[in-house]
């Protein structure tokens, strides 16, 4: 059979979702598809979605793990509203995900998993491959994946279990064929990953090829899709995940500032990969300290910063709550450090593997006393790099702790990322005080005129011996002081120093009409869906615009002015209205909140609908 027997269709963009058991390797499959897609020049955005359990019993609804990917030749800002193609490795995966599929979408199924046992576990009364629940509504391709990989690996000396496990590569091969993607990068990757297990490599390659060939040699799949290169700005790109980008931002900040990087933290989903990533970069002198808990995590970070390191930590909601008291100490003692909070579904343990934007007010106010801390939020997986980098720069320049907000979606999601040159990253330097050989008494609070930062007098520097702590201190001398007027002065000084950071913040960029009916004001990962929605409506010539906040404390200087130019400010948030509260309290504008707390990112269609409702 020749290639011509298949139809070829060109697409702007497509959304695919891989779903299967936790043990089926769906995250890996999605990851490989993403990498390949990135390399061939599509723009893309991904959304992994896995259960809180490590490996719930096979075949159960609770055990389903999924990975969604949106890619295109056009600008991609979100992982996609609904999949066009669903890969379902078992009945449970089909059951959980079918409802999200676009009408008429394609379903690729591992037919061998549709046994009576698994159907029952998934709660199917009859086999959907046999009854009429799918037919007509979707294009279904049942593939005997388990059987086909068994055939492919027949001659190989590998255990049955291993063979069975390669079926995800089979599925990947089918999709590669379907979307015209090369298999080589994956083959290369397999060879690296399993360098010491050649038979494993071989089995996986065979499964991958079996899948690809299944597409090309059978007539079952009728259509191939072409998704052209995206028109990205020129440069060298890589596909980057949010947590990796965060870690990279820290190392970059350390390298650029000539400081030594210290990470002190405690593992917590979905932030742990930041620790994992940094712990593998010892060649950059990175010191990672896995503490006994989050309190020790931030405490060690405070200690390392006090001693002159670029000190950072990462955690998620419950961990940030535990760090609250120590963050207050960092404020009081004016310790430069950066804490990343990868937000997840709450409250309490909540939905630990899902995303949410519900920690904004905690970040702003979750401490005793008046304890202002700058807060920056990353917009996309790649922006995690710049947010963590900028947080380091501000922390060191203003001698203050800084909080970076990302979330589970940004952390695990990925996008093509234009690799910056180290030289293009803004330089900065720690303001270490030089040794003092005279015998004058060192003043630990002699502040920088412009930034109001205290000098960073690190232990080991002769002549600068001094004492700091968590008690209120005299404005002029830094000594412990309980005087009421001095306290007021210090409360104001701490607030002003943080407000002063506005001098370092880029003015807000407005996308769309300069004044008009409605401005969507987003923060954090809501960026993508908001930008997609607004760009869609701009094409329809609606009077709308989009502005995105990276710094939430302090707010950019020009924000009030910009907000005043629109009749309505729409703030979409995956919380009950936390930024809305802040904006309402700060500016006399007409704020409408669009709030959905479903522990997953917005669909851009939802935002489009909401804007349209507002404009009516």
């Amino acid at each position: 059979m020749s290639k011509q027997t298949h139809l070829t269709k060109e697409l702007d963009h497509a959304v695919i979702r891989f779903a299967g058991d936790s043990g089926d390797g769906m995250q890996l499959t999605g990851g490989r598809f993403s990498e390949t897609t990135a390399i061939i020049g599509n723009d893309l955005s991904t959304l992994p979605d896995y259960p809180a359990e490590i490996r719930a019993p096979a075949g159960t609804l609770a055990g389903v793990s999924a990975f969604q990917l949106h890619f295109g030749s056009v600008d991609i800002h979100t992982p996609g509203d609904r999949p066009d193609v669903l890969v379902a490795m078992n009945p449970a995966a089909l059951k959980v995900h079918i409802k999200d599929l676009a009408p008429g979408g394609i379903i690729i199924i591992n037919k061998n998993a549709f046994t009576e046992k698994y159907l029952k576990l998934a709660g199917y009364e009859s086999n959907p491959l046999e009854d009429d629940s799918l037919i007509g509504n979707y294009t279904v391709y049942p593939v005997e994946m388990s059987k086909l990989v068994k055939n492919a690996c027949e001659s190989l000396d590998v255990p049955k279990k291993t063979v069975e496990r390669t079926k995800n590569l089979m599925a990947l091969g089918i999709l590669f064929w379907m979307f015209n993607r090369p298999t080589e990068p994956t083959i290369r990757w397999l060879k690296e990953k399993f360098a010491k297990q050649p038979t494993i490599i071989e089995a996986n390659i065979r499964a991958l090829n079996a899948g690809y060939n299944y597409g090309s040699t059978t007539r079952i799949l009728t259509t191939r899709y072409i998704v052209g290169k995206a028109k990205l700005p020129s440069g060298t790109y890589r596909n980057i995940h949010g947590n990796y980008a965060t870690a990279l931002g820290f190392v970059a900040a350390a390298e650029r500032s000539g400081m030594s990087l210290f990470y002190g933290g405690y593992p917590i989903t979905p932030a742990s990969e930041i620790l994992h990533t940094l712990s593998a970069w010892k060649q950059f002198g990175v010191k990672t300290f896995q503490a006994e808990d989050e309190i020790a995590g931030i405490a060690s970070t405070i200690g390392a910063a006090y001693a002159g390191s670029l000190a950072v930590s990462a955690t998620s909601g419950p961990g940030l709550a535990l760090k609250a008291e120590a963050l207050g100490l960092a404020v009081m003692a004016e310790i430069p450090l950066v804490i990343v909070n990868v937000m997840r579904g709450g409250p309490s343990t909540g939905l630990p593997t899902k995303m949410e934007q519900t920690d904004l007010l905690q970040a702003l106010f979750g401490r005793n006393g008046e304890a202002p801390i700058p807060v920056i939020a990353a917009a996309t997986p790649g922006d995690c790099f710049y947010a963590s980098y900028e947080a380091c720069r501000i922390a060191v320049k203003y001698m203050t702790p800084v909080l970076v907000l990302t979330d589970g979606y940004l952390a695990n999601g990925s996008e093509p990322w234009r690799i910056p040159a180290a030289e293009d990253l803004p330089e900065f330097f720690p303001n270490f005080s030089p040794p003092d050989t005279g015998n004058g008494k060192f003043n630990p609070v002699k502040r920088d005129k412009k930034t109001q930062a205290r000098p960073w007098a690190i232990p080991g520097t002769a002549g600068l011996e001094h004492r700091i702590g968590g008690l209120e201190k005299n404005y002029d001398t830094g000594e412990v002081c309980y005087d009421p007027d001095n306290h007021m002065k210090m409360v104001t000084a701490r607030a002003d120093r943080v407000k002063g950071i506005t001098q370092d913040i880029d003015p807000l960029h407005v996308y769309g009409v300069e004044e008009g009916d409605l401005l969507v004001l987003s923060w954090g990962s809501t960026f993508g869906a908001s930008r997609s929605a607004v760009s869609h409506l701009i094409k329809e010539e609606k009077s709308v615009a989009h502005a995105h906040l990276r710094w939430i404390h302090p707010l950019p200087k020009d924000l009030g002015d910009i907000l005043s130019r629109y009749k309505t400010i729409l703030i979409p948030e995956v919380n009950t209205g936390q930024l809305s509260l802040l904006i309402r309290a700060t500016y006399p504008v007409n704020v409408k909140g669009y709030n959905q707390v479903r522990a997953r990112p917005f669909k851009s269609q939802d935002i489009i609908d909401t804007i349209n409702r507002q404009l009516d």
């Binding site: 061939i40 003692a333 040159a421």
Partner: protein
Amino acid sequence: MGDKSMVNVKKLTRKDFSSDQMVRWCPGCGDYSILAQVQKTLPDIGVEKENIVFVSGIGCSSRFPYYMNTYGFHTIHGRAPAIASGVKIANPDLSVWIVTGDGDGLSIGGNHTIHILRRNIDVNILLFNNRIYGLTKGQYSPTSELGKVSKSTPMGSLDRPFNPPALALGSQATFVARAIDVDGKPLQSMIRRAQEHRGTSFLEIYQNCLIFNDGAYSHLTDKKTKEDTVLHLEHGKPMLFGKDKKKGVFLSKNTPKVVEIGEQWSESDILVHNEKDWIIASILSHFTYREDLPTPVGVLYAVDEPVYEDMMVDQISHAVSQNQKADLNSLLGSGDTWTVE
């Protein structure tokens, strides 16, 4: 302490280590005497004062850093060990001291204390044990005796106290010692030993709080009784005490008891102290709170074990030597990449 700081030190005096801050403990508090001994000892340890950092939590005892003319960080309640860990890992050349109380270090800070001991980070912990919460005005602490009548336990406390050396040993401590606030010389020598030990040093200092728990240790400090109640430990020496050293510790089937040297017992029956023996140290730790046995003072246990930050430095040197050309641009551009023209 890295070797680096051991050289070229000009001789300092006690005064060099006194800050200009007014000492604000109650007149007569045992903390004064500990402060004096530390200030007297530090000139001898061969470390420049700019390389010395005192980290404390919250409590009367934790005010200590204000009075030392070194680097000092008065942090938050219970967290000094974790903060000090960060300081030491960030800069292993510093001599890092933790000053904490029985509440700060064993109640709210208990977890950080046992974890730093397990990690064996080379810092020195001075635990001022007055068996009471001083700063918050007299609640019982985790080292107060069972039945303690205090502000929060008017009918007597219900929890059995920790035994700090036993807890430290159970936490894999590599150095465990004890001293008494008013016994200047032994205290000085324990401060010195703590400093010399590589790894986490745990020095419990019995300290009198004359406002809220006066006399907690009077049997150990009172001239009339102290010879019979305090056992000064010396490595390799038999455990003798009492007037004219006529009493000794005998192990009968692993059970320690006090015997009188004389007709029935001779010095050779007496248990010989061995700082490196975990079992002896454990036995000694169990003398605490026992009325039939003397209170051991001195080094209970001291062994060399791998030091956390040493290993970290080694791992980094190794990684650096394996990746000579590790530079930021190559890290930024690692993995699969593609170019858009």
